[in-house]
């Protein structure tokens, strides 16, 4: 059988996946070396954006949450939203957002550590974030048994970023002091 072009094989896989696919997994799926796949992905991105030979496409190829996936081009999101008529997604409360931020930067982190930074009880908010799949239980502390939480790949996708490194930097002061501070003191 004639070997089909790499870009075509990649497109076939992209059409059927329902979560982002990383370069290595993609390379394994299409049976080509990673550098070639990376190159082909770049070609496709350009192609869909109208920088190739054909016209710009109504969809685009984005790297989000550690992998590649086809998205409706942003210009058409309103059109598609109207078509699917989805209910407005439930917004996170300010408390949930702040708790999420603390967990994102401090992970792995226990609930009581988060609570001491936020100066309030965060139990119900943590449950909401868990139920939404934005955070996950990582492991239990070997001494105290307290569960440590971290963020999920789903969060990266929801933020439209590729790794935790893309979180905006926050003051370097945050990392010193606070860690060693024992939790009991804030009320």
């Amino acid at each position: 059988m004639r070997e089909t072009p790499l870009t075509e094989r990649i497109e076939a896989i992209l059409l059927i996946i329902d979560e982002p696919i990383g370069l290595v997994a993609l390379a394994a799926a299409v049976g080509s070396p990673v550098p070639a796949v990376r190159q082909a992905i770049e070609t496709l991105v350009d192609d869909y954006d109208g920088r190739g030979h054909g016209p710009r496409r109504g969809f685009e190829l984005r790297e989000v949450g550690g992998g590649w996936r086809l998205y409706v081009r942003e210009d058409h999101d309103d059109l598609v939203a109207e078509f699917v008529g989805g209910q407005a997604p439930a917004r996170l409360s300010q408390a949930a957002l702040e708790t999420l931020a603390v967990i994102a930067y401090k992970q792995p982190v226990t609930r009581s550590q988060v609570a001491s930074i936020r100066a309030v009880n965060v139990d119900s908010v943590v449950r909401t974030l868990l139920a939404r799949g934005l955070i996950t239980e990582l492991f239990a502390d070997s001494e105290t048994g307290a569960i440590n939480y971290g963020t999920t790949d789903a969060l990266l996708q929801h933020l439209g970023i590729n790794s935790l490194d893309e979180l905006p930097p926050i003051s370097p002061l945050l990392d010193d002091g606070a860690d060693g501070f024992d939790e009991g003191t804030i009320r």
Binding site: L14, S124, L174, G177, I186
Partner: protein
Amino acid sequence: MPSRSGGTPPEAADSTAPWEGDGGAGARPSPDVGPLDSSPPAESGFRVSLSNFDGPFDLLLNLISKHEMDITEVSLSAVTNEFISYLRELDDSEELEQASEFLVVAATLLDMKVAGLLPQGELVDAEAVALLEARDLLFARLLQYRAFKEVSAWFARCLQREDRRHVRAVRLDEKHRKKTPELVWSLSAADFAALALLAFAPKEIPHVGLDHLHAPLVSIREQAAIVVTLLRGAESLSFRELVAGVTEPGIVVARFISVLELYRHAALSFEQLEPLGELTLRWAADHWSDETLATLGADYDR
């Protein structure tokens, strides 16, 4: 006990601080440090006048976080006093929300003041150093709290932007579906029932649960809308009047929660002369928009 944390070498360093001077000469540092400052400094409205610094509190925190200023050179008791007098001047109905924003700040400052009042001076250096470290930690915590608050806005923006995006998530074609690996199933019927219990358990304080009363769910927001309409139309109302004619306990509860929520937004004031006595409510909001109403009780949403 002295009311000021005087006597330590750091305090004595006041006169050599970068912003040295008598503090009354206006916001000396603020025009020059604009680039340092990521958030609008005047937003808080709380200004500090110290011997070595005069300007908005936010700016002070920024300077400290950038190490432009040494925390040990700030007279903590003075900051605390300024803050307390600032709180006193606030018009309690209008700026209640702003004041509550500062609660964490106030608590931290008080902690610092306590640290500052601990016996010191003649003690050995190691302990003085430990004391300074404790102060640093307190400020660090304050800064940390603010940093997470600020960065949460970035999270909100990204989540909102990405919420609008549409990703391809289409069911696999029938012909390919048959090729997917068999499902691994290890649950017994009893496991499954246990899972159902978990799934039906409330995820957070969601709403006034009335399922067991076979009554419809009550929206805090709707009840708040009713409370707003009733209260704005009347000079003052007792809670009894506010729920007159309501027979469903759930609605009474939701209406009460909405009163608390409105109080939190400083939209109303209430008076209760004795425990369990008549609760008198008064509309107190000068600025009220329906947008506030739309977000009211969001904590109760799931």
